[in-house]
Amino acid sequence: MSSKTASTNNIAQARRTVQQLRLEASIERIKVSKASADLMSYCEEHARSDPLLIGVPTSENPFKDKKTCIIL
């Protein structure tokens, strides 16, 4: 009796796995070349506004210490 429930559980689990795999196999995919091109164009578009990439002048970066000039 318990073995029957165990096997029903296994079957239910296997069925769920098959359904999940069917779902994953059926999604629409694009070519890596297109995906790569899109990633690259995103980087290029936003490169100018990426402070860690291009660096911002010390005066604008709150974390970089500003060295004040002292006139002796």
Partner: protein, 305 residues
């Protein structure tokens, strides 16, 4: 009723073999579209110059390993949580501690800043996610105002105020649809546990850091891994990853106390940062991208720019 809606020819064996053939079909479909490698396409992109990034601030004050941190939307406040049971809110410009809450448990593994900047959420071995409203009134006891928002059956390892719809569990990275509660895509190419996942800024890809000492980039629309960030000399696991604003740089904190900076498109390492004296456990880029903060088992947080 004993058959429970089972079709006659649906035995365990037949379901298992169908699962195997579907897995094979999935790999086939993914391979069909694998016409080129990302780094090949990226060859025509300009190489990045030398990077000079240094520790600009060191936040000291935790009594034990720093486990998690998050930035406030105001780009200067940071919340961090530690094994010592404390959650501290820092002003990263001045390194002052603005708030400190003692949690009733140690190992506060997760903390997050509310988008409004008015509250923090945290949790850990107490199995709860608690939200604390932040107040500057010295007479108010912050702990008294806390509100428990969730009860889990096990420890809280991560929390976030936005719909965090990704999860790295074991070697698999799964992408979930929050509305249907379904897993829509799964990727299993890492050779060991995944410790951290982070979306690419455009939302079309994500990066993962794993105990197998590699970080990988997965494109959601191509439905496959498109880049591996690894070196033979790197043998320790990556604990946390985050992208710079444009997505060109990937910062990854490792268990060998270093932070490696990778060129996402070309797949090469652009910089290696030293400074921490123990494992880097958490890493986040600031909301405006001017700096990033790393937390470590050496009890400190460092802000790099």
């Amino acid at each position: 009723m004993a058959t429970d809606g089972l079709h006659e020819n649906e035995t365990l064996a037949s379901l298992r073999s169908e699962a195997e053939s579907l897995k094979g079909k999935l790999d086939e479909e993914r391979a069909k579209l694998h016409d080129v490698e990302l780094h090949q396409v990226a060859e025509r992109v300009e190489a990045l110059g030398q990077f000079v990034m240094k520790t600009r601030r060191t936040l000291k004050g935790h009594g034990n390993k720093v486990l998690c941190m998050d930035w406030c939307k105001d780009k200067r406040r940071i919340v961090s949580s530690s094994q010592d049971g404390k959650v501290i809110v820092w002003d990263s410009f001045s390194t002052n501690k603005e708030h400190a809450v003692t949690m009733p448990c140690t190992w506060v593994m997760a903390c997050a800043y509310a988008p409004s900047g008015c509250a923090i959420a945290c949790g850990g071995l107490d199995n709860k996610c608690s939200v604390y409203p932040l107040t500057f009134d010295k007479n108010e006891n912050m702990a008294a105002k806390k509100k428990s928002v969730a009860m889990h059956t096990n420890y809280l390892s991560a929390c976030s105020f936005t719909n965090s719809d990704m999860q790295g569990c074991d070697k698999k990275a799964m992408v979930w649809d929050m509305r249907s509660g379904q897993c829509v895509q799964a990727f299993e190419t890492h050779e060991s546990d995944i410790n951290s996942v982070r979306y690419y800024p455009s939302g079309d890809a994500f990066a993962s850091g794993s105990d197998d000492a590699t970080c990988r980039l997965y494109d959601l629309r191509a439905d496959r891994e498109v880049a591996i960030y690894s070196k033979e000399s790197i043998i320790f696991g990556a604990s946390s990853v985050d992208f710079s604003l444009s997505g060109r740089l990937l910062f990854a904190g490792y268990n060998d106390y270093t932070i490696n900076v990778w060129d996402v498109l070309k797949g090469s390492r652009v910089s290696i940062l030293f400074g921490h004296e123990n494992r880097v456990s958490t890493l986040r880029v600031s909301p405006d991208g001017t700096a990033f903060c790393s937390g470590s088992w050496d009890h400190t947080l460092r802000v790099w720019a």
